[in-house]
């Protein structure tokens, strides 16, 4: 069998148990809450009738196995149940919230890659000044907490200078320009740390490639330095860079939770945090499920991309 096809199939096969365990854990959240979750949700003044009603509504009295089966069947049909507070279907809520989170994470990632990869290359092959500056940026980006950086950006760009709105959101479909204006600060906040990691990895990978004999050969052959660096060296350094981009996507999904709260953006992260504080367990479950699924899919895609960039990975068979 074609080794690449085998690699893809094997990697897909690994994803299924992971999805299964993740769904079980998230399903169990509401059942693991100490005491009676319904009493916690309704507060202490709830009447026994209303408690019994909510228990029945959430099917908490069915056998555990039946509950899990029904929940997964619902999720597979796009039915996440009902918001416990507003009674709205969760699928509609998620359909509004998920695009916001995706927009922030994807824009941050694009910005971080667009800045991080060229700077990482310059950090490996550039002069002393470029090296110093990028090193400083990396230390800064990794050490400074992202949300504090966000607050400082608000202070400078929105507070003192009045350049940008400090927080808020309009959907892209209603006002594309306004939407992007609101996105600038959150995206910058997230992108700085991402760019720092991408620079560090790119620099390390480039340094590993640049000393190899084929680069010496290309130099001897008189190939232009630009072409050596970007066409030959960078291509050979692509595997660790792609890997770190995939890993950092998960970090971004986590960071989005904080940044959404900070900038009052209606994304999934803010949804989850609000729901935890309200003990609104069905919303917590649905939100966590969506983010975890996104994360698992991104890991899958990253591994497949790395497998295709670097045949050594896919030929080895393990991943």
């Amino acid at each position: 069998m074609n080794p690449r096809l085998l690699f893809v199939l094997r990697r897909l096969g690994l994803t299924i148990p992971v999805l299964f365990v993740m769904s079980v854990v998230i399903f169990l959240i509401i059942r693991l809450v100490p005491g009676d979750p319904v009493r916690t949700m309704l507060g202490f003044r709830a009447t026994p009738e209303s408690v019994a009603q909510v228990r029945a509504q959430l099917h908490l009295d069915d056998p555990l196995w039946t509950q899990y089966r029904d929940w997964v069947a619902g999720v597979l049909h796009g039915d996440f149940g009902q918001d416990f507070v507003s009674k709205a279907p969760l699928s509609e809520l998620l359909a509004q919230r998920v695009p916001v989170t995706l927009e922030i994470t994807l824009l941050s990632m694009v910005l971080a890659v667009a800045v991080g990869v060229p700077l990482g290359v310059r950090a490996a092959v550039g002069g002393r000044w470029v090296r110093r500056l990028t090193e400083g940026f990396v230390v800064f980006g990794i050490s400074v907490p992202d949300f504090w950086l966000g607050i400082m950006l608000v202070l400078v760009c929105a507070g003192t200078m009045m350049w940008l709105p400090p927080s808020g959101y309009v959907p892209f479909m209603e006002d594309p320009g306004g939407n992007l204006t609101y996105m600038i600060l959150p995206v910058l906040t997230l992108a700085v740390a991402e760019a720092a990691y991408i620079i560090r990895t790119t620099r390390g990978a480039m340094l590993g490639v640049i000393g190899r004999p084929f680069i010496v050969y290309l130099r001897a052959k008189g190939t232009k330095e630009r072409s050596i660096v970007y066409r030959h060296a960078l291509r050979n350094a692509a595997t660790p860079i792609a890997t770190v981009i995939g890993i950092q996507f998960g970090v971004l999904l986590g960071g989005a939770i904080v940044v959404e709260t900070l900038f009052a953006l209606p994304g999934v992260g803010r949804l989850i945090v609000t729901a935890i504080n309200q003990r609104n367990y069905p919303v917590v479950q649905a939100g966590l499920f969506v983010v975890a699924t996104l994360f698992i899919l991104v890991s899958l895609i990253t591994d497949l991309v790395v497998g295709f960039i670097d045949p050594q990975v896919s030929d080895r068979g393990d991943s």
Binding site: V18, V21, M22, V25, I26, I29, L32, V33, P34, V139, I142, S143, V144, P145, D146, F147, W148, I151, M152, V154, L155, G159, T160, G250, V251, L253, G254, G255, I257, V258, T261, L262, I272, V273, I276, N277, Y281, V284, L288, V291, A292, F295, I296
Partner: protein, 287 residues
């Protein structure tokens, strides 16, 4: 004073300090200062961190109050000192719990391999399925917010990472000649592990623990910032940042100093971790 009068422990500490690269020494010094500050918090903080003073609401920094006052007139400097105490306690607790759990699990998985490895590593891998912050939030969703839950959540995030590093290090040592020698002498597995494997495989775990400790400060601050970690009125850096955001334009000092404190701790742990990496992890097992 002659060399003999210096206790052996002190010379060992001094030697270990100078064995580190220079940047790591800076990290150690910063951490020592911070730990002393937190231990002596009642002596160093000029005011009660929770004392509300209506006459000093959002007062700017001055000599008696170097970091100014917050929206309730509380002294930001004193609060930062006490918040450092909370944050460092959570960080040390979480990293210690995770390391102590990862040490036996990772060692056994790496040394024995086979089904022992499968039984230990597969469940731990499952913890890596969720992004770190989301895993912490899941645990908090179940148990409810609080400092101890935050520490446990961070430990839960770090356990699979540390166990994986310890497993890789033990796997390398398990095939070394001196381990073979111990076995050939008829030592029990436990004796071989204790005498040969663990001492020789400990380096990468220490490096990873130092690096993770820095990020634990950030995670703890993020959780408290979201209202899911340390609860008021206990001062914590993340909580201070969330309070300071509301008065950002009138009183930026409420926000700036706790954030700088976090950045300094993370930087110090990163310097230490990078230095230890140069000395203890030549094979680059720590990512």
């Amino acid at each position: 004073m002659t060399a003999k009068s210096i206790p052996a422990g002190v010379t060992a500490v001094v030697r270990a300090f100078f064995w580190l690269p220079r940047s790591a020494r800076a990290g150690v010094l910063i951490l020592v200062v911070l730990v002393i500050v937190t231990l002596l918090a009642p002596l160093i903080a000029p005011h009660d961190p929770n004392a509300i003073d209506p006459t000093r609401v959002l007062a700017g920094p001055d000599l008696g109050h170097p970091f100014g006052a917050d929206a309730l007139g509380r002294d930001v400097f004193s609060r930062t000192v006490y918040a450092l105490r909370t944050s460092l306690a959570i960080v040390f607790a979480s990293v210690a719990v995770a390391s102590l759990a990862a040490l036996p699990l990772g060692t056994a998985a790496g040394y024995f391999g086979g089904w022992v490895d499968q039984v230990i590593s597969r469940p731990l891998d499952m913890l890596l399925v969720l992004p770190a912050l989301l895993l912490a939030i899941t645990l908090i969703a179940i148990v409810g917010p609080g400092s101890i839950v935050a520490a446990l959540a961070i430990a839960l995030i770090y356990l699979p990472i540390l166990a994986r590093v310890q497993r890789a290090a033990s796997l390398v040592v398990a095939h070394a000649g001196f381990v073979e020698g111990g076995r050939a002498r008829g030592w029990s597995s436990f004796a071989v592990l204790r005498r040969h494997v663990v001492p020789n495989a400990l380096g990468p775990l220490l490096v990873q623990a130092a690096i993770l400790a820095g990020f634990a400060v950030q995670i703890e601050a993020s959780l408290s910032f979201l209202g899911l970690g340390t609860q008021p009125p206990t001062p914590s850096l993340g909580l201070m940042l969330s309070e300071g955001r509301d008065v950002l334009t009138q009183a930026p000092w409420v926000e700036i100093f706790p954030g700088l404190a976090i950045a300094v701790i993370v930087l110090a742990f990163n310097l230490l971790g990078d230095g230890l990496r140069h000395r203890l992890d030549p094979q680059g097992m720590v990512s």
